[in-house]
Symmetry: C2
Subunit: 173 residues, 2 copies
Amino acid sequence: MVKRTSLKRAECPVARSLDAIGDWWSLLIVRDAFDGARRFGEFQNSLGISKGILTTRLRDLVAQGVLDTVPASDGSAYQDYVLTKKGQDLFPIVVGLRQWGEDHCFEPGEAHSVLVDNETAERVGRLEIRSRSGRAVGWADTTVRKAGTPSPVQRRSAPAKRSRRSASTAAGP
Amino acid sequence: MVKRTSLKRAECPVARSLDAIGDWWSLLIVRDAFDGARRFGEFQNSLGISKGILTTRLRDLVAQGVLDTVPASDGSAYQDYVLTKKGQDLFPIVVGLRQWGEDHCFEPGEAHSVLVDNETAERVGRLEIRSRSGRAVGWADTTVRKAGTPSPVQRRSAPAKRSRRSASTAAGP
DNA sequence: CCGTATCCATTCCGATACTG
DNA sequence: CAGTATCGGAATGGATACGG
């Protein structure tokens, strides 16, 4: 039994978080959920993930309490996957990953997509972490896109491709 | 070849970040680096990871530019692994994971360790994300522990300690 | 003490076919 | 469209033995 050591009972909160959402796909699914995705097919399409994996990932996320399933939305007999409060609280992490990626994982001038959170994009233009004293200790400068912006991908050189539906009222209270 | 799809060339910064540091161990290693770990054995000990895996993870992280190797430190003929600027910029993400874990992955009153960043602990007592307008949009309340605190684990309900002292021996350039 | 190398079980993931 | 079932290849990770 060489089973991968579980971190579920780790005393370190970082380890527990990683145990919950630290796998290859979970945060990408959450990202897409922030982007307004709700349907199985939306996730599958956006991620290029196989159905089987997506099914288990979705189920895990629901079991973790990050996502919840709601009966309908467009009347079809299926389910929508929406972020719970717990899932929405991942927002800072997703933003952090985005900003770190922007800062350190792209060549200067290389094209990349921009922030896709529908709910927050319109009120947040720049994110930073401050200490109690008011001094910034974290990052700064975030590029954000407002919900419903036609081009989902902002290019500096290449053409865009990913299509998107209108944002409207995505996941959220 | 059914190789797992690489996200290295993804246009989404979140995906690229995950590709770089989104695996099972990387962020845990980075966390320990923030905690002051520098030596191979320190990481291995803290993580309970096998040597082989640790070797490759360390090498990957160095290749990614997250860690760097420096010749000595205590005179031994080995190497120390230290965070680069790129690695240090992961701090907000590690803190975010920590806070999310504290908020959502522990039972009320359950014991957990506290923040372990040596360099920042003394100046940061509470982290939050604010929008440009000044309104907080992210989390709040972080418990921090300064370097050298004997007990690494602290009750969640315990009062947050805001002590300060010199950084001393930690990993400080 | 620091790593490398090998073996092997487990898990992950993509492809595909199938049901409703 | 939304999932389930299955297969096979690849990567992961633990244990251990080995060399610097």
